[in-house]
């Protein structure tokens, strides 16, 4: 069987048409892309555990009244009084026969700060009383005085309120016992939030004119969560 030239020509034309049509159809379908994508959803869980940290620090840990002398006379009651409290964050208050001694505090008053992340019950312990810390008080001289106060350095730090007995009020130091200054149920004691987490300890000294020597007393603050 033989094909005529005309038949071959039509076959070639048909081939071209089929080829073009196939190309158009293929390109059209490819350009639409796949009929669907696989959507991958990945779910992850990140867990963070924060351990409660109990941390209480004296951010101002030294109060230095400096070097001085007491003018022993009846007019001064043979005594010099030195003190600081919340109302004066830089000045040392002097009364009586004080000669010398510092008039300002280098770093401010003794200041406690809750540096942890939980509420704290705070108590103080003094290593000595007035007689052991300052001494003196013989004959005409009055007895030495060693007193303290405790107040909020930042308002609202002690959420349930400071111990009213020594809140901005000086009371006589009783040594070697824990004296609560800010205590209560968690949430009512010393806060840990940065803006409301600090307390101030005020000191009042009564120095008789017969006292002498280098004097140091240690105050230990305890924070319990």
């Amino acid at each position: 069987m033989e094909f005529s030239n005309k038949t071959l020509a039509w076959l070639v034309v048909a081939t071209i048409i089929v080829s073009l049509a196939g190309t158009l159809i293929s390109v059209n379908r490819i350009s639409k892309g796949p009929s669907g994508f696989v959507v991958v959803n990945s779910t992850g869980n990140a867990s963070v555990s924060i351990t409660t940290q109990t941390q209480l620090n004296f951010i101002v840990s030294a109060l230095n009244f400096g070097v001085g002398q007491v003018n022993g006379s009846a007019s001064t009651n043979y005594q010099c009084n030195l003190s600081n409290n919340k109302t004066s964050t830089t000045n040392i208050i002097r009364a009586g026969g004080c000669v010398g001694f510092n008039t300002t505090m280098t770093n401010g008053p003794l200041t406690l700060q809750n540096d942890g992340n939980t509420w704290l019950n705070v108590s103080l312990n003094f290593s000595a009383n007035a007689a052991n810390f300052i001494g003196g008080g013989a004959t005409v001289n009055p007895a030495p005085l060693f007193m303290f106060s405790a107040s909020e350095n930042e308002s609202g730090s002690c959420a349930g309120g400071m111990n009213a007995t020594m809140n901005n009020t000086y009371i006589t130091v009783v040594p070697n016992i824990w004296i609560p200054i800010c205590t209560g149920a968690s949430g009512s004691n010393l806060n840990y939030a940065d803006a409301t987490d600090s307390l101030t300890v005020g000191i009042f000294l009564g120095i008789p004119s017969d006292a002498a020597g280098s004097k140091t007393v240690t105050i230990t603050a305890q924070g319990t969560s």
């Binding site: 080829s19 963070v48 109990t54 030195l82």
Partner: protein, 83 residues
């Protein structure tokens, strides 16, 4: 050969065959280009579609036993003898 066979010369048939070859080559080239473009588009779509959902949970552990910390401060002065 009849009369019809003579109306289309062999030269014309050869040209048609060459045209058919060219069309086929061009079609193949176009299809390959379309496949490549489609692959790139598919990749881009895949990048867009993939998503991830995460949950962050936070747990603060309370101490099992009370914890206590201490800090110390000092009060100092030097008293010279009263002359």
């Amino acid at each position: 050969m009849n009369q019809n066979n003579k109306t289309i010369p062999n030269k014309a048939i050869a040209i048609l065959i060459i045209v058919a070859l060219l069309v086929t080559i061009i079609s193949t080239w176009v299809i390959l280009g379309a496949i490549k473009a489609s692959s790139e588009k598919q990749f881009a779509r895949t990048q867009t579609v993939v998503s991830s959902n995460g949950d962050v949970s936070l747990k603060v552990l309370a101490p099992t036993t009370p914890s206590t910390k201490v800090s110390t401060g000092q009060v100092k002065l030097v008293i010279n003898s009263n002359t």
